[in-house]
Amino acid sequence: MCGIAGIARRLGGGIAVEPLARMAAAIRHRGPDGYGFYTGSHVGFAHVRLSIVDLAGGAQPLTNEDGQVVVTYNGEVYNHPELRRELESRGHVFRTRSDTEVLVHAYEEWGADMLRRLNGQFAFAIYDATNQTLFIARDRFGVRPLFYAQRGGDFYFASELKALLASGEVSAAIDPAALDEVFTFWAARPPRTGLKDVQALEPGTYGVWRNGRLRLQRYYELDFPEATEEPRDAIERLDELMRTGIDLRMRADVPVGAYLSGGLDSSITATLAAAASPHQLRSFSITFEDPRFDESEFQRGVAQNVGSAHAVASMGHNAIAESFPDVVWHAETPLIRTAAAPMFHLARLTKSHGIKVVLTGEGADELFLGYDLFKEVAVRRFCLRRPDSLSRPRLFDRLYPYLTEGGRAGDFWRRFFLDAGPPSDPLFSHLPRFHLTSWIKEFYSPQFSASLTGVDVLSEVRQSLPTRFFGWSPLNQAAFLEMTLLLSPYLLSSQGDRMAMAHGIEGRFPFLDHRLFEFSAALPTGSRLRGLKEKEILRRWARRILPTKVAARAKQPYRAPDVPSFFGTNAPDYIADALSADAIRKTGIWSSAAVDGLVRRCRSGRATGFRENQALVAVLSTQLWHQQFVERSPSSRMLDVAAADVVLQDAVPVAVS
């Protein structure tokens, strides 16, 4: 796992190493173990390395036998030994044991078709000097990030936005439409990012840059075949996929640990990882001092079951506020909730125990319909079939018992779901969430609202949906929206890659093995969500490996306390500064009178609702993000080129330490 960056110039003339050294410095946290550069006539690469596979021989950038094909790569291709054998049988000669070198030869052998053969999580760039073509690609589900910018025919790419800005050649103008997406969907929708001149390469997509032009092509599409019957061997097939998925992800030349939330998904990954590990498994958890959010009892129970050496970090009341500026710096986007902060602390805990790689349970809720949102779709449709029924809407109380404060919200609260929109709307499943999140927009300043004239982010999503979407069942439509709008751009990014890589930790996601996705998508929806019982088939299978109590435990929504952290007695000073009328006016995105009112309610302890909570996080994170990325000049700090592990010029090594 690593960080990558690069520059390609249409007119050639040689790439200077200095901007590459600045870009690498900006993402050094992703690769603390080493770094390297390639500078050619048209293209230059930077690489910062977190060494996990082939510790001695895996330094980058790396070339093929004749030095004509160069790669800079972030990620893991788990099936690299199998691919290597196939490539060797076709005459390719390898110099290292690394999966990086497999990419180079796979590109030579299969070109872009190589991507279909990779099982992994990756973002990389390959430069082919024989035809002066730059090839960039990103994994199927968007586990690893890749951003790019274009200016006057020149092309820039990097694992993080801050590296693009550090080149000194990419501007940091905000994209109002992207922010409007954040305040609707929780994240900007790729290719949009918060910055107008920076795009995100979409998951499952590659790009070919040549002569100053970029051509994008999708190589992987999510599909849901809509089966009516569960295959007779479904449990056996699931067993094989889960076990091989974990085994593949245990491949590393360093010990692999596991995150434990206390829920079903991470219990599965930790249990199988412990069985597959040659060492005692190390596991890691976050707990909260606030007992309402504390799951430590379940975490300890799972750790005991799997026999792992378990480490815990407890989040105090001010921990979220104290780390929030760092969290925003690494997330590189405004946020509407603080759940990334505990993940930041979890990665720090993991690093402090000398572990670089962890398995984690993300993806299971999307594949096996685990989220309450999927049940909500079923209940809303059920209610709307009989709009006059008084008893049907009471199902919402069973769905969200923790949101109603002891039933004091009455039928108002049910109407929120029933009035969100008609089932004929393709976004039906997500409209309650989108409406709730969009309340943040009440705080926009008049000039920011004016900059959004003509922007309708919901219509844009409706128009972007593939034709096959309209043939899917409502639950599969919801799963598609969840995977494309939330999983990749928010969960795997702001809560996943960025928080882990802030501390040089690589997360691996067994549930996001594409074979497992394709298996789950081909199951009837009833095998995934039966009545209001989520992840049904996964639970049925998990009884083989987990104690019944764990396999049957209902999903707990992952929540973190927000407002009290920012307004307690020991709240950090930056909060008042960032929310001051002057700072709000300078940023220009929010109405200072509205923010004033919000802060007043937060200080008085009256902002207890979900809406004001998310508004506060949105305003504060936007202020921090704006200060860090838009107002501040990019860092001019460089890595020392003379101390690099690898320096290649025109693909010929000139210095290898």
Binding site: L403, T404, E405, G407, R408, A409, G410, D411, F412, W413, R415, F416, D419, L436, W439, E442, F443, S591, A593, A594, G597, L598, R600, R601, R606, T608, G609, F610, R611
Partner: protein, 90 residues
């Protein structure tokens, strides 16, 4: 129109403006406007509003009474509060 109903309605209006509409200075809340539909309160907001109404007007509200019919608009709130206090004939 009953004076008491008007007083209750205006007191609740001021409360909603100060606590739920502070970010929307140009928002005009009509007496018949549905509070949930117009996004004035959400489910948490209802709980907070009910607590205010109970404290301010000295009434107790059962869970069954927390309904759109009783608390869905300024006018229905005013009528509900006055009925609870026995200020108008049922």
């Amino acid at each position: 129109m009953h004076t008491h109903e008007t007083q209750v309605r205006e007191r609740v209006r001021r409360y909603l403006e100060e606590n739920f509409l502070y970010m929307r200075p140009n928002f005009v809340l009509g007496d018949e406007d549905r509070l949930l539909e117009r996004g004035v309160v959400d489910s948490m907001g209802v709980a907070e509003m009910v607590t205010f109404i109970e404290d301010e007007f000295g009434i107790k509200t059962s869970d069954e009474e927390i309904s759109e019919a009783n608390l869905g608009s300024l006018r229905s709130i005013a009528r509900f509060v006055c009925e609870k206090r026995g200020m108008i004939a049922a």
